[in-house]
Amino acid sequence: MIIHHPILGPRDAQEFVYLGDASLIDRPDGMTAGVEEFHDYLYQRTNPAGEHQELWYHEQGDRSWLVVTRNTVTHEITKVELARDVARARGRTK
């Protein structure tokens, strides 16, 4: 597969390490959330057959975490964003 890195352009997917669903960005706050919320965050997956937002890490590259929108049936990639931008857009702070 080829991932079009927003900064570095097309890169072979072999340069990346895969983590999983980009919902892993949405970590609850441990001081307010309990086991139930963390359970849903860490363990439960929508696991769609179709469009999937997912986290890839450019380990053999610039160390960016990316959010890749990829179809799990066709493997077509339609969008690649810096995970940091996505995280900020989702309101994550310090």
């Binding site: 970590r27 959330a33 975490w65 990639i77």
Partner: protein, 979 residues
């Protein structure tokens, strides 16, 4: 008998003679020959035996789809089983042997299976061999396994090299027949970067096997001229002997180039084969078509082959497969064979045409509405029996029969993304479906366009479409005959066997039996009968098999459908897929800064991930590893020892939020750590299990240096980047891995300070550099360095780091300048002994299954702040009172041996799971305690200190009484490390 079947013409170089042997018998051929063409030229038709019935077989094709003529090529470490004689290029000195026969190809004892074939119907083995139960493994299966298989594998290492490479292009063209050549010309002239790959050693595809002209030039000559022109284009790469094996995601294609298979051995420095990963903007599949047989009784004898192959041998290789030849066809293309052979002077005794009506061929006995219903000939064809339209049967003496059931477009690569081909009744074949791999176009015969004109036109048009070109070359004149085919899948006649899959011996009867037993899905048909599972992956058999099933079930062919096409297109040598990653080069070596020094000393090394670490450093006279390790431990604890700990992960963490960041990623607190101090840190995964540990030092207000375990250096860094970028993107914190930047040594023992003071420029007295101190220093008069007063061994100890390139010098300097203290260098074994004596956790305990509580470190998980893993570490199943706790263990009898991995049992308890108390995680011999000691996880272990239990190792029959002790087995008060 020297090339008795050689006739005129062909693209072989008759000026040179190549000698080769088959089953030990010498033969001659010419450059341009394949093994099959050369053997046929020498009158050899029998080249193999079938898988199940051991039927005599000869080639049925002239290409890579060949299921029958497969041989063992070469000898020794280069012995190559299952090589298709039809594509093996002849070279001088080639050695080939037949396979899957005993004692010889002509007299194969396993041919008895053929006589008993009625008992070996499809799937018979699923219905028997069940009684008595034990006989399957003891009797039946061993016999089956010995009989099964085709060629044999050498036990020697493959002596040849394989390489891998990357190629990039605007357009990849798969196949260099008329379609591919025209596409290449179109794209090449437009200046695009083009790769033209063909599996054959000669480009031109079917043009090399045909007689018709393009423009005014014979097709083969036109192809040669075209190749010559293309070769002049710098933007075009011509790759012969290169098979595109698969279409993968996003325009990546795999291809194998057989660089040296046509040579006795690879030229010096050259690989045997290269695996190319081709990154193509667009691709055109111009892979042509494969002729399919018709099933009729005894259609598998040597001498019976595809009509197109028969004329390919005549036209391209100058070989008349037989002296009296017949053709059996259901389409016009078969007629061409008769005409071509006749033109070459071969005696064409009959054309058996299953179709009715139309013009009769002049000068040839043309039997319309007729079918071949049987054949005879023991090791090769001697006659055929023909049923004419009036029902009369006639036996005709022939020694070769060309069969044409029509042509199947080579849709394979287009279907590699699991899109299914669709049936085109006009050519009675499957053509590529509407959806294939993005960016892959199909042209020519592969797309079902069977005439030469259509090939040229669709090749050109595909290049235009793929690259959005404005101009294109004119098309030369070429034949544009329509496909005229009347489907005939099998001849309805009699009770004999008619082969569908020749290699696997699947007959029409087997297909009927599958239908009778309701294995009617094509997948069930395949799996039950093994149809299409041979080395040709059904290229010569699948379509007729499914068409027969369609007829039997009353379904249409499209309803019946095909099985799935999978990579590789043709079988690929494992060596090519592995490339250079084999032997010692399987994975790269990472060497520590002290590696060269250690090698000079004759050190023993151990693989730790990709690192090679010093395991111990034997001294003269030491014959047992324990002698060296004990000495290293004792010397360190007595005076001073040095250990290379460069492999530990090192991460610089900087920024105004560095401390807050560490509080998030560590279970304990780091924001409160004083500048110039270190702290032991415990890192959890989000699921609350211990991830990693290490010391982290605060080098400045906004600057920390983290160490990780060797094993987790990469994953911890990845995790920290995840936390930084994805979880807390607004934190001002920067990370960089400095694992390779710093050479780091542990210096431990009562004289550690004294030794270090000889190279460190600053005062490192206890007052100036107290326990858990950290700082930037200089050594040897100004070289920048880092010093941490931390101890894994329990001794007064430091870790000192210098830029990696000075690591070797630093070690030598420390040993030289500190000589008066008799410093030793210790390896990972002594390191392990000392850390276990101190009860420090490492690999065996950090197993990814253990909590801080299990390790006795539960109090380190701060609940006052949010950190990774904090919440989930509190789940009910993970905070049980009687859970595993880390304990120390020593045998009651000091002579008794312990084994890591042994399990705890109470005295008198039976060794069953219900009594399983836990296990030993790590074990060493402690020269200080004079016995084996171990760490272990024991259920409720914190309450069992001082008790006696048993350790059992049921794999070795060991059962040992032990005492449960504190994990801190040496200097529990920690007086030495503060010294």
């Amino acid at each position: 008998m020297s090339q008795s079947n050689r006739i005129t013409g062909g693209q072989i170089d008759r000026t040179k003679t190549l000698r080769f042997t088959f089953d030990g018998i010498p033969y001659q051929g010419h450059p341009g020959d394949t093994l099959a063409s050369a053997l046929l030229a020498n009158g050899v038709r029998l080249m193999g035996r079938s898988f199940k019935y051991h039927r005599p077989r000869g080639p049925i094709s002239s290409g890579s789809e060949e299921p029958n003529a497969i041989v063992e090529l070469r000898t020794g470490g280069r012995q190559e089983p299952n090589t298709r004689a039809t594509v093996a290029e002849l070279f001088d000195g080639l050695t080939a042997n037949s396979q899957n026969r005993w004692p010889s190809l002509r007299f194969d004892a396993m041919g008895i299976n053929d006589k008993l074939s009625t008992f070996f119907a499809a799937g018979f083995y699923y219905k028997t061999f069940m009684w008595p139960k034990s006989f399957w493994e003891k009797l039946y299966e061993p016999i089956i396994r010995r009989a099964a298989g085709l060629g044999s594998v050498t036990r020697e290492e493959d002596p040849d090299d394989y390489d891998k490479g990357f190629l990039h292009c605007d357009l990849l063209i798969i196949g260099a027949g008329p379609t591919g050549l025209m596409a290449a010309l179109t794209a090449g002239r437009a200046g695009k970067r083009v790769i033209l790959a063909d599996e054959d050693f000669r480009m031109g595809g079917r043009l090399n096997a045909e007689t018709y002209a393009i423009g005014n030039t014979p097709g083969a000559d036109w192809a040669a001229a075209m190749v010559a022109e293309l070769a002049t284009m710098p933007n075009l790469r011509l790759m012969t002997r290169t098979t595109v094996i698969g279409a993968f995601d996003h325009g990546i294609y795999g291809a194998v180039e057989r660089v040296s298979d046509h040579l006795p051995t690879p030229a010096k420095g050259k690989p045997r084969q290269v695996l190319w990963r081709i990154y193509a903007g667009k691709a055109i599949l111009a892979g042509g078509a494969t002729e399919r047989p018709i099933a009729f009784e005894n259609n598998d004898r040597p001498g019976i082959m595809m009509a197109g192959a028969l004329r390919a041998y005549a036209n391209r290789w100058g070989v008349a497969v037989g002296q009296r030849v017949a053709v059996f066809t259901n389409n016009d293309d078969g007629i061409r064979t008769a005409l071509d052979l006749k033109a070459k002077g071969v005696d064409v005794v009959a054309v058996i045409d299953s179709r009715q009506g139309g013009d009769l061929l002049p000068g040839v006995r043309h039997l319309q509405g007729a079918e071949v219903i049987d054949t005879s000939g023991k090791l090769g064809l001697s006659s055929i029996t023909v049923r004419q339209t009036n029902g009369r049967s006639e036996t005709i003496a022939v020694d070769a029969l060309g069969v044409s059931g029509g042509w199947n477009p080579n849709v394979n690569i287009h279907s590699h993304h699991r899109s299914r081909p669709v049936y085109d009744a006009s050519i009675a074949a499957f053509v590529p479906g509407p959806e294939g791999p993005p960016g892959l176009l199909v042209a020519g015969a592969a797309a079902g366009h069977m005439s030469t004109h259509a090939a040229l036109k669709t090749g050109r048009d595909a290049a235009i479409a793929a690259l959005d070109l404005g101009s294109a070359p004119d098309l030369p004149q070429a034949e544009d005959a329509p496909v005229r085919v009347s489907p005939l899948w099998y001849v309805h006649h009699g009770k004999g066997r008619a082969w569908v899959d020749q290699q696997n011996d699947v007959t029409v009867k087997d297909v009927k039996l599958a239908k009778q037993e309701n294995f009617t899905s094509v997948e069930h048909l395949k799996r039950y009968t093994t149809l299409g599972m041979a080395t040709d992956q059904g290229k010569t058999s699948n379509v007729i098999g499914l068409a027969i099933m369609a007829e039997l079930t009353g379904r249409s062919i499209p309803e019946t459908g095909t099985t799935i096409y999978r990579p590789p297109y043709t079988p690929v040598a494992m060596g090519a897929l592995a490339g250079r990653s084999r032997g010692k080069e399987f994975k790269p070596f990472r060497l520590t800064p002290s590696h060269h020094w250690a090698k000079e000393q004759g050190a023993i090394f151990v693989e730790v991930g990709n690192w090679l670490r010093t395991q111990w450093v034997p001294k003269a006279g030491e014959t047992e590893w324990r002698q060296s390790v004990d000495r290293e431990v004792l010397a360190t604890r007595k005076s001073v020892g040095i250990c290379d700990v460069t492999t530990l992960g090192k991460i610089d963490i900087q920024g105004t939020d560095a401390g807050a960041f560490l509080d998030k990623v560590y279970a304990n607190t780091f924001s409160t750590l004083a500048v110039g101090k270190c702290r032991y840190g415990l890192m959890l995964r989000e699921d609350g299990i211990v991830f990693d540990d290490g010391t982290t030092a605060r080098m400045g207000e906004n600057e920390y240096v983290m160490t990780t375990t060797t094993a987790n250096a990469v994953t911890v860094f990845r995790h920290l980047e995840f936390c930084r970028q994805c979880l807390w993107p607004e934190m001002d914190v920067q990370l960089i891995s400095t694992t390779e930047a710093w050479a780091q040594f542990s210096v431990a023992g009562p004289n550690a300070r004294k030794l270090l003071q000889k190279i460190v420029d600053q005062d490192i007295s206890d007052a100036a550099f107290p326990y858990m101190g950290a700082g930037n220093i200089t050594v040897c008069g100004g070289l920048r360095a880092r010093l941490f007063r931390i101890s894994f061994s329990g001794e007064l100890a430091y870790e000192i780091a210098v830029p990696t390139r000075y690591g070797d010098s630093l070690l030598r300097e420390m040993l030289a300048r500190g000589a008066e203290f008799d410093p030793i260098v210790y390896g990972t074994e002594a390191l392990g002994v000392m850390r276990i004596e101190k009860g420090h956790v490492a690999g065996g305990e950090l197993n990814g299954q253990s909590t801080a509580l299990n390790m006795g470190l539960g109090k380190m998980v701060s609940k006052k702040k949010d950190s990774i893993g904090m919440v989930l570490s509190q789940r009910e199943g993970m905070v049980q009172d009687n859970g595993y706790r880390l304990v120390g263990v020593k045998p009651v009898n000091p002579q008794a041996k312990l084994t890591a991995g042994s399990h705890f049992l109470e005295k008198g308890a039976a060794p069953v799971a219900a009594n399983d108390g836990g296990w030993l995680t790590s074990k060493v011999y402690s020269p200080h305690l004079g016995c084996d000691i171990a760490l272990g996880y024991l259920k409720g272990g914190d309450k069992k200190i001082g008790q006696r239990m048993r350790i059992v190792n049921l794999l070795a029959g060991l059962d040992t009484e032990v005492e449960i002790i504190s994990p801190q087995m040496f200097d529990p008060e920690g007086e030495r490390l503060r010294g």
